[in-house]
């Protein structure tokens, strides 16, 4: 009369082996359901493609002057108009994207890597080291970016490398601080204690157990930092402290457009649009990534 209830979960071995792949597929479909994420991804892809393939996409050479058609409004030949030297703004924007991409990619990834490392060291290491690193981070953060840029430029002269160096130095502290706080809250959790009791080395704990738990917020921070970096470059170039003319960058184009804003307002508008789209794209992508990266965050947020 008594029926022993059988285990409802019947699983064959191949199923288990496939589960990792299944999980990846699930994450992908979760991402594809998020319209903001998809829009962000499209915008970011556009940014990458336009920057990488600028030489093929651009209808004109970025530095070819065409004085007779200077300050042309947007027409079929020059869809974003021309500047005061008759250079095609659309082509220059495409090339400017290359500068932005270079600075964003190198700047963000290098500062993320260094910040992550320093932050984990500060969070897990001895107290004095933590205090020393914190002092350093705060000292760097206390410097206004522009003053730091002015000072360095006064010493070395403006160049793209200088912009990059300034971007990296000024963004390390924020990554390091976020990492440090997250590491500190993790270091006394039971699972880290459990890893230690199993004999896991500090490096293993950092790499396998702390890193995956702190990287999520950092990637969002990085994705949202890209537009900041791009606009810092644009800002410095606008002030003449960054990329030097004639090299096209969004900042220099904005700067030149600003000079002729009364005669040719479309130039400022044209240079602003890629900045805005890039900012939006990375922000959307960052938020979508966060939702999927953290398995504890459901869709019902």
């Amino acid at each position: 009369m008594s029926v022993i209830p059988s285990d409802p979960v019947i699983v064959t071995v191949p199923d288990i082996r496939e589960s990792a792949a299944r999980e990846r597929r699930e994450k992908l479909s979760a991402f594809l359901r998020n319209w903001q994420g998809v829009l962000g991804l499209v915008l970011v892809m556009m940014f990458f493609i336009s920057a990488i393939f600028a030489p093929w996409l651009a209808p004109y050479e970025p530095n070819t002057m065409d004085i007779p058609s200077r300050l042309s409004p947007p027409v079929l030949d020059h869809i974003a108009g021309t500047d005061q030297l008759g250079r095609d703004t659309f082509s220059r924007l495409l090339y400017g994207g290359r500068v932005a991409l270079k600075i964003a990619a190198i700047g963000v990834s290098v500062s993320l890597a260094i910040g992550l490392l320093l932050g984990m060291i500060a969070g897990l290491g001895p107290r004095w080291l933590d205090n020393l690193l914190l002092l350093l981070f705060d000292a760097v953060r206390a410097f206004p970016t522009i003053i730091l840029a002015l000072a360095t430029v006064a010493l070395t002269g403006p160049s793209m490398e200088m912009v990059l160096a300034i971007v990296i130095i000024t963004s390390i502290p924020q990554y390091a601080r976020v990492t440090r706080t997250a590491t500190m809250s993790l270091r006394n959790t039971e699972f880290i204690q459990a890893e230690r009791s199993l004999g896991a080395s500090t490096i293993r704990i950092l790499w396998h157990h702390i890193l995956p738990n702190v990287i999520g917020p950092l990637l969002i921070l990085a994705a949202m930092d890209v537009p900041v970096v791009v606009s810092v470059e644009a800002g410095l170039s606008f002030l003449g402290l960054g990329v030097l003319p004639p090299t096209a960058s969004w900042g220099t184009i904005l700067n030149e457009g600003y000079l002729v804003i009364r005669n040719a307002p479309w130039m400022v508008v044209a240079a602003g649009i890629p900045l805005i789209l890039t900012t939006l794209g990375f922000t959307f992508l960052g938020e979508a990534l966060r939702d999927i990266f953290d398995p504890r965050m459901g869709k019902g947020r």
């Binding site: 199923d15 288990i16 039971e190 204690q193």
Partner: protein, 683 residues
Amino acid sequence: MDPVLDVSDLSVEFRTARGRIKALRNVSFSVQPGRIVGIVGESGSGKSTVLWSILDLLASNAIVTGGKISFEGRDMLTRSTKDMLALRGEDVSVVFQDPMTSQIPVLTYARQMRDILYRRDGLGKAQKRKMSVDMLDKVGIPDPEMRVDQYPHNFSGGMRQRAGIAMAMLTGPKLLLADEPTTALDVTMEAQIIHLLREMQRETEATVVVVSHNLGLIAELCDEVVVMYAGEVVEAGNVHDIFHHAQHPYTRALLECDPAQIKGKSHRLPVIPGDIPDLVQPPVGCIFAARCQRVMPLCLAQEPPLVEGEQGGYARCHLLAGPEQDSSWPPPPEVPTVARGAAATAGAKTISPEPLLEIANLNVKFNTMGPVWAKVRGVKQPWVTAVVDASIKVHAGETVGLVGESGSGKTTLARAALNLVGSQGGSVQFEGQGIRGMAESGFKRFRRDMVMMFQDPVGSLSPRKSVRALITEPMKIHGIRNVDPDREAERLADMVRLPKALLSRYPHELSGGQARRVGVARALALNPKLVIADEPTAGLDVSVQGEILNLMADLQAEHGLGYLIITHNLPVVRHISDRLAIMYLGRIVEEGPADEVFAAPLHPYTETLVCGVPQPDPDRRRTHMVVKGEVPSLLNRPQGCDFVSRCPHARPLCHKVVPPHVTAGNKRMHACHFPLGTVGTPE
């Protein structure tokens, strides 16, 4: 008399990513005025959901899909927000589970309690303060005039819960709801809070609804009991009927699983096999059918009838009425209805003569301030001793239970043995080798042989790792490459009876019992010799904890493991332990064979722990408290014996001299000047 609270056909669903969870289905019960009603059930039974429905404080993804809740004849579900606001805290108030998180840390009690009285416009500030002080006095807070101006962090855990009760009673509610009011507290505090709740109820004649998973608490406190399982009420009735003549197989099984209920010593604990059903698609028929020992085809097809008992109680079961009615059900209380699993290893225990782990006179100190600060402030002793001269031995094949309340230093002792915290003085030997204070590089090889299971089943698993990665991690840590990790993962999952489908899950997707199995698998991955388990049953339901302990016992028999089990729950651990060590304020106060220690304690503190757990029997309610007060802080250790401030048998000598460790004839050690059961004359 009209019921104060009447819940009828209440159904609640939660919207989630997986679909709608049918958390409550047709829940009905009513509460007569002046009664204490207990809602008992395991996790996932929906008992807390009922409580929050009454207050209309359900999470935002919850929908009430049907039913009615009426309080004093008025429907609660259709009341306006403004109406509800006026009701909550005035006519209905709540005692929360964790006073630490339910009280405002930055406001004094005076201020918090004044805020509770915000609707009483007629009262001045001084009057409100007077009311608060009186109420704190009533709940037994010493020196309330002064205490009322303190903050929650100035109060100890038990005092905080007393204050929580004071805050709930302040407005003189007609209905008091208590959500697991003692779960966050120690055993000795639990008894005091139960007592307090009963007294407050008697005095104010309020109606009380208590939600708990703790059968002992329900038996000791309540007049009536509602038993819930997976979102349904399976049985309800008078507390005596429920505990002595349970009608529903689930109630019966739940009672049998409570380790405090088992009189004799039993190496195998009873369990209810299986897991709670998935409430996204609740099964047809009886909700308990999948785990019921008496399941019949009818149970899977048709919903069981509601059968009324003689004294207003009722249960839902096919055994009680209808075509399958069985007049021999329920069997008399001494006949077990729940399986205890195969007792394959009973009596076959072999304990090696040589100790595996030998801790002798170990001390652990924690600094309370830096050395410079201590000099500046003139503090002579800028540290606390968390463990004092602790000695304990564990042999291969033996289970030693280390029992004590929170703050007794039991976890610290274990961590010190494993070199996870530093220790000062004494020795730790593993298989005869001194390992205390060893550098981590040298200690690493010992970590294969001695492993620790941490308290929180889910929280001790790295959250971003799949179960498969987690249970094979020890092999990666110790560089074992000649095994197929996938095959190993499956072998270990089999060993701990974990469904293989769970290998690709993440810790947060597991139930407590499943996560605990992962913890066991991880601990045993490298065939250790010694397992230190910190509260292995913490956070687990009664029906699951037996399963984990049985599993651990089987694995011990198979591999000859030595266990050191750290717990606050003496009734559970005594069934599986060979020896018990009782710890209080960092000192081991008694040690000896488990049966003897439990049956005839020598130290008054052990006696407290033995009687501390409320019995799941309403006829054996305790009328007096064994001990008063709480575990003192390590910062002000009492003079003389550590237990002197709470000991009912304390004599002048105890206040002056620290009792030495004495080994009595039959291998029993104690640290008491006047051990119980011996005729002691004051020296």
